[in-house]
Amino acid sequence: MSTETRHNSTIDPAGTTPAIQARSICKEYKSSDGTRLALDHVDLTIPRGEWVAMLGPNGSGKSTLLGIASGQVTPTRGDFNVMGQDLAGLERQLIGVVFQATALDPRLTITENLVDLGRLQGISNDGIRTRVNEALENSGLIDRAHDRVSTLSGGLARRADLARAMLHDPALLLLDEPTTGLDPNARQHYMEHLSRIHSTGRTTIVMSTHLVQEAEKAGRVIMLDAGRCIADDSPSDLCEQIGRRILKVYQDDFDPPEGEGWRRLDEAWTLPVAGHSDPVVEDLLEQGVELALMKPTLSDVFNRLGGSELSMTAAIR
């Protein structure tokens, strides 16, 4: 598709407005127990063309933020703009959304699903077949085009669902934990496909995840905890912020000294240190404590900044 026909080109020819701009966004949910604050004064600017991962545990506000960006959820307070448009006037053709569950009808074939949902996105009857075939080629699903969705594996169904979300060539692609339920192999294929979409430079990608391995693929990571944005930077810069190395002690009987900032993560005691020559490391080695020095991961960063645990066991799940 030529850039002249892209949706955003007609709205903002210079492409200067951010893909997403949020100012002091709050979202409250009322329940029988009272009011729960899902988002607490979140400020956010995502320029066009970025691949952003929103990282946080369940209940941190990731899905709510994506729900607001896709127009499904109305914020309680604050301003939210997508491609320079406010939510009330948002042209929905601009966005593609991948939900936690596959949004395809299991009784229909992949092609039938894509034709119907593509037409509902506004793709003309004349162009839909070509567009569907292109999408299936790009997704490696052309051989399964006439298979019912109910016969596909989880990984293939998710790829078909991504093809569905990309069918109308959205300027902004929102993905809510898109690899939920996939095995590691299928997850890797999915992320590679997402990388290819991003490499075209035509689509801004905002993806929520609680898996650090997935967040590391993005160019920018926004960490959310209890509805607050606690960190926002590239994965490498975030890791550097907390120290050059993470000291990990797995001994069950280890009693960490108070006041040094030891934290429990993944059944280990952890502490950011400068390296092998750090006095803490030398002191522990002299005591005969079994330890490991590792490069900090996003999981360590989250643990340090958020206080809660973004467990590596979640990554395995």
């Binding site: 127009g71 042209e91 959304v97 939900f99 949004a103 009808d105 949902l117 509902l120 506004g122």
Partner: protein, 254 residues
């Protein structure tokens, strides 16, 4: 590529067609809806024949089985509408509905497409029973059959739209079933489908004649067995328009 979203007619047509395609791929659903109603028809027809046949024969000069036919068509349409509405909950759980809701398709088209789709399926399933006309001693003319089909279409559309409105608000299939049993079953029982309204107690007659399903069933029955009652046919049209308006209002509310 078209920058605009789909028109209401395009989006309605797509959603409507999908309901029909899904229907053809669920043979169990077709068999269950028709089989249940035919079974109830046979059992009720046999069970009440001795007690109600003389009254029906005296009042309307037809057999009880023939008199029951429109009521059974209403029952099939009702069962089918409930099934179709259930798929709304299923679609929300599988995510298909979410994909439609984030698309530029107008909300009105979602209401129209689903109600027309569910209504069409109900109409087809219930309309099949008209094939029994020669077997039960009715000599309905072509116009009578057409008017009965039209009234059935209105009833199917109305029940499908009301089912959709309830399903939209329900979070689970079990709660939807409970609501449907509470709403539709009494409506059907009080629609003159199973026993004649004339001759029942005064309060029951008043309630029955206030029941929109009575108007649709009566429109079908009079079209099939005697002189069509145009006021009932007109009321059936109003019922379906009102039901569509309710469904649209519910779906449009965020």
């Amino acid at each position: 590529m078209n920058i605009n979203g789909p028109s209401i007619t395009t989006a309605t047509g797509i959603i409507w067609r999908r309901e029909l395609v899904r229907f053809t791929r669920q043979p169990g659903r077709i068999i269950a809806a028709i089989g249940t109603s035919v079974l109830i028809w046979v059992l009720l027809g046999s069970g009440f024949a001795n007690s109600l046949e003389p009254k029906i024969a005296a009042d309307e000069s037809i057999s009880f089985s023939a008199w029951l036919l429109p009521g059974m068509m209403t029952l099939i349409a009702m069962f089918s509408s409930i099934f179709s509405s259930l798929s709304t909950i299923e679609d929300r759980q599988t995510g298909w509905l979410q994909a439609v809701l984030v698309s530029p398709a107008p909300r009105l088209s979602i209401a129209l497409g689903r109600a027309l789709g569910g209504g069409s399926v109900a109409f087809i399933q219930a309309g099949i029973l008209l094939a029994a006309i020669p077997l039960i001693g009715l000599s309905t003319g072509f116009i009578g059959v057409l008017l009965a089909l039209f009234s059935l279409a209105m009833a199917s559309l109305a029940m499908s739209a009301i089912g959709l409105a309830f399903a939209w608000r329900c979070q689970s299939a079990s709660s939807f079933h409970s609501v449907m049993n509470l709403v539709f079953m009494p409506m059907w029982l009080l629609s003159g489908s199973v026993f004649p309204i004339n001759g029942s107690s005064t309060w029951l007659s008043i309630v029955a004649w206030c029941n929109p399903l009575t108007w649709c069933t009566t429109a079908m029955r009079t079209s099939l067995t005697s002189t069509p009652e145009w006021d009932m046919i007109g009321l059936s049209v109003l019922v379906s328009i009102g039901a569509l308006a309710i469904a649209t209002a519910v779906i449009s509310r965020r």
